[in-house]
């Protein structure tokens, strides 16, 4: 699988995403500078986490104007697979590739810890290796992960099964206590109507290796591989 990881100024999970695809899953990865355009032949594009443009003005608000974003939009319009993680999700919202906005966490603090998310829709190109209703433990690390949209849009994305992950308790109950940031309807991740653009606040790349104590996040990357009929290759760093 050919993956493009976009590097905005201030991206800081770009290396982590590249590491997962390349070193852990044995896929081919190209880093794409935000002032460039997308090269041909990509199967999927990753908008990684970080603080693009220092989060100045508003998260993702400046990155959406980066030259590469025109190409990312065209890529998505043509059905290309796009995954935005954390800041990448925020950029997708600002760029209008996903509906809604992110506001400050209710605690007003940055929060970094493991959370549990429930897979609400396992029939997607990002979750086909999960069971419907499966609970995944994946870390979050953000100050602005409090998703918000208007009631009509919310009803629409729910009806359309576009809500992919919701914050939940370890045993899968979607409760206010399990919501770390005040996100509307406990939304942790969502997809566009065509099912080829996913945004999620939790960081699956941080929970994709046994050595880091958790492999739940790996399912999302494996699902993307499956969507292309691929399986993980023997990685360069094999650990027993």
């Amino acid at each position: 699988m050919n993956i493009g990881v976009v590097v905005f100024p201030g991206s800081n999970c770009d290396h982590d995403c590249a590491y997962v695809f390349q070193d852990v899953l044995g896929q081919s990865v190209r880093m794409i500078w935000h002032k460039d355009t997308l090269p041909g032949g990509l199967d999927a594009v990753v908008l990684p986490g970080g603080f693009s443009y220092g989060d100045y003005l508003r998260t993702g608000a400046i990155a959406r104007f980066s030259p590469v974003m025109g190409a990312v939009k065209a890529f998505a319009d043509n059905g290309g697979l796009v995954i935005g993680i954390c800041n990448g999700f925020q950029i997708l919202l600002e760029a209008g590739l996903l509906p809604g906005v992110m506001v400050r966490n209710t605690s007003l603090n940055f929060i970094c810890r493991d959370v549990y998310v429930k897979v609400e829709n396992a029939a997607t190109r990002f979750t086909n290796r999960c069971e419907s209703g499966q609970v995944l433990k994946i870390p979050i690390a953000h100050a602005d992960g409090n998703y918000y949209t208007d009631p009509v849009t919310l009803a629409g994305i729910k009806a359309n099964a576009q809500v992919i992950f919701r914050y939940c308790t370890p045993d899968g109950k979607v409760t206010p206590e399990a919501n770390p940031n005040g996100s509307l309807d406990n939304i942790a991740g969502m997809m566009n109507a065509d099912g080829n653009v996913l945004g999620m606040m939790p960081h699956p790349e941080r929970s994709a290796e046994t050595l880091l104590g958790n492999e739940d996040g790996r399912l999302i990357f494996l699902s993307m591989l499956s969507a292309f009929g691929k399986t993980e290759q023997q990685s360069r760093l094999v650990r027993v």
Binding site: C13, D16, F51, Y56, N109, C112, P139, R206, L212, R239
Partner: protein
């Protein structure tokens, strides 16, 4: 050059003594001008010149087979094999953080990060050691919140995980908090860059942020004591921009990957002055700079302001002649200001011009290396004997051990720091194997089978009561934290926070602490490769406790052979390594329960310490250990409680039986005897573990079993006096420990 009359008042303002001024006259052979005076003032400040500490620092052991770069550069470097080096350093930002906690702490993080990536290393971990007053105090809460968000704001944005640290709360730090930041990076051994201005004719290139009028005389401010007027010094605190620093980091590493760089140094304390003169001095060259070419934030800045500005996120590099365009192209790619501002010369002088006219001319070495050196008088304080005298007979033994344990777990120094570390991104870069909340942080090193363990530590109260023993213990405990992760210590960085060196009792503390560090490092065979001294930590004539903070790096050869501190499984056997003595002096128990900070700190035998650590490392490497936790603040009872409640995936109880053997009950439960580690091992491995310990000459005893929903510690079975045993349900224990800090902060 314009001359001026240097008055006593001007010298005082620049914190230069009359003797120091005489020396300046000698060096220059004339009166300095205003710019030159400012440059001397900054470079000869305590902060930059180490004038009170240097003769003592020489005693520290700084060499070893792994040392690639010792003290004197931007950071130290230690060989970890596979062609890689661990590059690390710790630095203080105490004074700025007291004046403006958010920016003070943020720019502290920014400064230490630059020290690391300047060496060619990509920073992969930050830790911090913080000291505050009591949380009952509204200003302390303001400082804690500000410092934590400052560290988070900068580190998170940089994408460097803050993986650990420690915080102690004590009234002595109320008006002089300590903010010490540690950073570690990884570099290829053959690609380590130094701050040297080599190659006459090579261009001197400035890049990063523009120079503004902020932080002027920060170094001098940081070398001063504080009083009520401290708030007025706010303009000397710099303002951080982590986004620009992130660009600077990536630009630097990209420049370093090429072949254009000769030497590089960040502009930290004393800004352009220090980077220019230190780079020239190290190489025995000179530099000539045209100040009109320095990128500036506003017009009309004087040479004095340009040279002394401590605007953040700036770098000075010497490139290979002819490679200017390559450098400029990379900097522009990252949207950074960049300008060729001068050349390397053979004059040995820093020559500054403004539009072609010379505005300053000083021998580089005079600024960087020939500053004053003081052998300041030292003598023990009059109160030292009183501090150490602790009459055990007058001290009633513990009457309600349950209550005492809960009180200790609820004291902010011991309580869970989750409120703090959840605000730090501690996982970015996907190396963090052991997150904050265990004895040491553990990070895998990508591309190898190895991992590094990191720990920072210091017990300032021990150091107050006995500076020599306290410093020894700081080293030993830091190494013990690493040992509990299965890591062998390979290098130390220190951050020596002390009071006013012009007070003989402070110098006495300093000199003894250095001796303690030296002896402990030699015994544990671990070199000090970098460090920082922060003096004048004194407000309203009250000095802080001597606090020689230690940051230590340990190597784990097989990343999957490591351990964490919490119990894993019901049925596991709990084993205590080490010997418990009657060590109540200077303990957290004595402070929290008896409100005394008195006595002699626990005895530390370095040979015993070495044996316990080596034994623990061996057991972990052989895969015989389920958990390992060091006994420190609050003693064995607190250590056992932490083993039960600090696990990320839930709590698990324990039933422990202790024999008094003539010890006081409080000493047995809460005493802080050194060289002790609590292990849990699988039942079937217990005999083997005890046998390994016995053969290594390490005292080891089976003290209990993991399991259940309670923490039970019985003393002498049930024969002991009522109230001397501990029996608590874990929910209560956990609640006290977990909620202490959030509850204290909710007062606002």
């Amino acid at each position: 050059m314009k001359s001026l009359v240097i008055t006593q008042a001007i010298l005082e303002q620049h914190k230069l003594s009359e003797d120091e001024y005489k020396k300046i006259l000698e060096i220059l052979g004339r009166e300095p001008n205003w710019t030159e005076l400012g440059m001397f003032s900054a470079m000869w400040s305590e902060h930059c010149s180490y004038k009170s500490s240097r003769i003592h620092l020489k005693k520290l052991p700084t060499t070893g087979p792994r040392v690639v770069q010792g003290p004197g550069e931007n950071a130290g470097a230690v060989d970890i094999g596979d062609g890689l080096c661990a590059v690390f350093k710790m630095e203080s930002h105490n004074h700025p953080s007291f004046i403006e906690p958010y920016q003070g702490a943020a720019t502290g993080v920014g400064g230490i990060l630059r020290d690391i990536f300047t060496m060619g290393a990509r920073p992969i971990a930050l830790l911090n050691s913080l000291r505050f007053g009591s949380l009952d105090n509204a200003n302390t809460r303001h400082l804690l919140k500000g410092v934590v968000s400052g560290i988070a704001g900068y580190g998170n944005c940089m994408g460097v995980p803050t993986v650990g640290g420690e915080i102690v709360f004590n009234d002595i730090y109320a008006l002089n908090p300590l903010v010490n930041v540690f950073c570690l990076g990884i570099a290829r051994k053959e690609k380590i860059f130094l701050g040297k201005a080599a190659g006459v004719g090579n261009p001197v290139i400035y890049f990063g942020s523009k120079t503004g009028r902020d932080g002027i005389h920060g170094a001098t401010m940081a070398s001063d004591s504080f009083d009520e007027e401290a708030a007025q010094k706010r303009p000397t605190v710099q303002v951080g921009d982590p986004f620009t620093e992130k660009l600077l980091l990536e630009a630097c590493l990209e420049l370093m990957a090429g072949d254009c760089l000769v030497g590089i140094q960040d502009m930290g304390a004393a800004g352009l002055t220090s980077s220019a003169c230190e780079m020239a001095s190290r190489e025995g060259t000179g530099v000539e700079l045209e100040l009109a070419d320095v990128p500036r934030r506003e017009p009309g800045m004087t040479p004095y302001e340009i040279m002394l500005s401590e605007s953040q996120e700036r770098m000075l590099m010497v490139a290979k002649a002819g490679h200017e365009d390559e450098v400029i192209k990379i900097c522009r790619k990252w949207d950074l200001d960049v300008a060729v501002i001068g050349r390397v010369t053979d004059t040995g002088k820093v020559v500054l011009k403004e539009n072609g006219h010379i505005v300053a001319e000083i021998p580089a070495k005079a600024l960087a290396d020939d500053g004053p050196r003081y052998d300041r008088p030292s003598s023990p304080p009059a109160y030292q004997e009183m501090l150490q005298a602790l009459n055990y007979d007058a001290l009633p033994d513990v009457k309600d051990a349950n209550a005492a344990l809960l009180e200790l777990l609820g004291s902010p120094t011991i309580a869970s720091k989750r409120w703090v570390y959840e605000q730090y991104d501690h996982m970015v870069r996907t190396n963090t194997m052991v997150r904050p909340g265990s004895d040491a942080a553990v990070l895998r090193v990508k591309g190898t089978d190895k991992a590094l363990a990191l720990s920072v530590d210091c017990n300032g109260r021990y150091c107050l009561l006995n500076p020599y023993e306290g410093a020894k213990i700081a080293i030993a405990e830091c190494a013990r934290n690493l040992a509990c992760s299965g890591a062998e210590p390979i290098g130390v960085t220190d951050c020596l926070n002390f009071g006013n060196p012009q007070r003989p009792e402070v110098m006495w503390q300093f000199v003894l602490a250095i001796e303690g560090l030296k002896d402990a490092c030699e015994a544990l065979r671990v070199p000090i490769v970098s460090g920082n001294v922060s003096l004048y930590n004194e407000t309203n004539d009250l000095s802080i406790y001597p606090t020689p903070m230690i940051g230590m790096v340990g190597l784990i050869e097989q990343a999957d052979r490591t351990a964490t501190q919490w119990f894993k499984q019901a049925g596991d056997v709990i084993i205590l390594l080490g010997r418990t003595r009657e060590d109540l002096g200077g303990t957290e128990y004595l402070k929290v329960v008896h409100h005394r900070e008195q006595g002699s700190p626990p005895l530390l035998n370095l040979e015993d310490e070495q044996a316990v650590q080596a034994c623990t490392i061996r057991l972990i490497r052989e895969g015989l250990v389920q958990s390992a936790h060091d006994c420190s603040d609050g003693g064995l009872a607190v250590a056992l409680a932490e083993c039960c409640i600090s696990g990320a995936d839930g709590r698990i109880g324990a039933v422990v039986e202790l024999a008094r053997d003539g010890l006081r009950r409080d000493a047995l439960l809460f005493g802080e005897s050194q060289s002790r580690i609590v292990l849990s091992v699988k039942q079937e491995e217990a005999d083997k573990v005890l046998d390994v310990a016995r053969r290594a000459g390490v005292p080891a005893a089976r003290i209990g079993i993991v399991g259940g929903g309670r923490l039970v510690i019985r003393v002498d079975g049930d024969r002991s006096a009522p109230g001397s045993s501990i029996d608590l349900d874990l929910l209560t224990v956990h609640e006290r420990w977990a909620m202490a800090i959030p509850r204290a902060l909710a007062l606002d």
